[in-house]
Symmetry: C2
Subunit: 216 residues, 2 copies
């Protein structure tokens, strides 16, 4: 497999050679949240051709960013998971996502929101300074998905699915439009959410996950 190169001995150039091709960083985004199978990835990347997904997975594997594994018990097929180099990509991913979020504007016709995308938003806007020494857990519920955000001593773990234990606060929202992170924050600010648990943690949530952001 030959890869096109940029002919420069430069970190950015090398990064673009490894993950700069079409769809690659979105595949990486989905794997940042949890290991996924081929069809899981297909589902979360509407419009990607199967042969392109197949090619990207091979390239990412060859680059040492992901690895093929046997999926756990119930399914037991192939799944794709990050190596250490893959995990190390997350700061760059979050930085790009933060910038892109400022360029988002309104949703365009036909655009969708996936749980993975919202999870990355949670991680991207998380403010460690505002969360110093904090310990709390939230569960975000929408008809289409459930997410969790668990802060332990100021350290965040966010992902798809319910919290391991009962969350300190469950936030249920059902926006008119897309279930994006923006819509969640907006609903929370306007009180258009259903709460279950320690209701005062809603303000904490907004402070920690939407502090400097005016509207994301």
């Amino acid at each position: 497999m030959k890869r096109r190169d940029y002919g420069q001995y430069c970190g950015l150039a090398r990064a673009m050679e490894l993950v700069g091709e079409r769809w690659a960083l979105l595949i990486v985004r989905d794997l940042t949240v949890r290991p996924r199978r081929f069809t899981d990835l297909l589902e979360g990347l509407p419009g990607i051709p199967t042969n392109v997904l197949s090619t990207r997975l091979k390239e990412l594997e060859q680059a040492g960013i992901i690895e093929r594994q046997l999926a756990p018990a119930p399914q037991r097929g192939v799944q794709y998971a990050f190596t250490q180099a893959g995990h190390d990509l997350e700061p760059a991913l979050l930085a790009l996502g933060r910038w892109g979020a400022t360029q988002l504007g309104e949703p365009r016709p036909g655009e969708i929101v996936t749980p993975e995308s919202v999870t990355l938003s949670l991680r991207a806007v998380f403010d460690p300074a505002a969360a110093a020494d904090l310990t709390a857990s939230w569960e975000i519920r929408h008809p289409d998905y459930i997410l969790h955000a668990v802060v332990t001593d100021g350290h965040l773990e966010a992902g798809v699915g319910p919290t391991p234990d009962k969350p300190d606060l469950a936030i249920t929202f059902e926006p008119d439009g897309l279930p994006s992170y923006r819509a969640l924050v907006q609903a929370a600010k306007c009180g258009l959410v259903k709460l279950e648990g320690r209701r005062t943690l809603l303000q904490t949530f907004l402070r920690v996950f939407a502090s400097t952001e005016q509207d994301r």
Copy 2:
């Protein structure tokens, strides 16, 4: 001008739509350092076809990331410069560059190093914690280029060309191979550099610009 989209309302997806196409982020990299003209960019991006550069510049301009300006006095033609949105890309650029640098390995045959790339490396590895309250200036000299790094009260300004005033320390190096940032640090650590000025600032340089890095 129609752009391909990813069909997702997601910051990362939008970022890739705007700056994800081939060569785009390397053009952005060069403009991060200073405004450049069409032929300056051509020179710093060996191998880019002129039509692709032309297309990218239009796309980046339409995306509101760069703008066309009249170049200053001596040349007075067109030059391309960042808008605010362009400047805001820098954190993401540095994060990607840091990750890519860990994947660099040895230079491949034919690979080059540009002053812009080294400047970005300086900014990427700069450790604000190690430089707290520091004020000092360095000039990096190599037969092929001169860079400056000026730290004022712990804040870094790094770019191509000499320091505005006489630097506190001038570091001259002439590696056998490529004049990369790695080669600079290696030469500095091994004492294979010529110093001019406050020689003790060499250790400060290494502490601030190569602290956590073992070898970059």
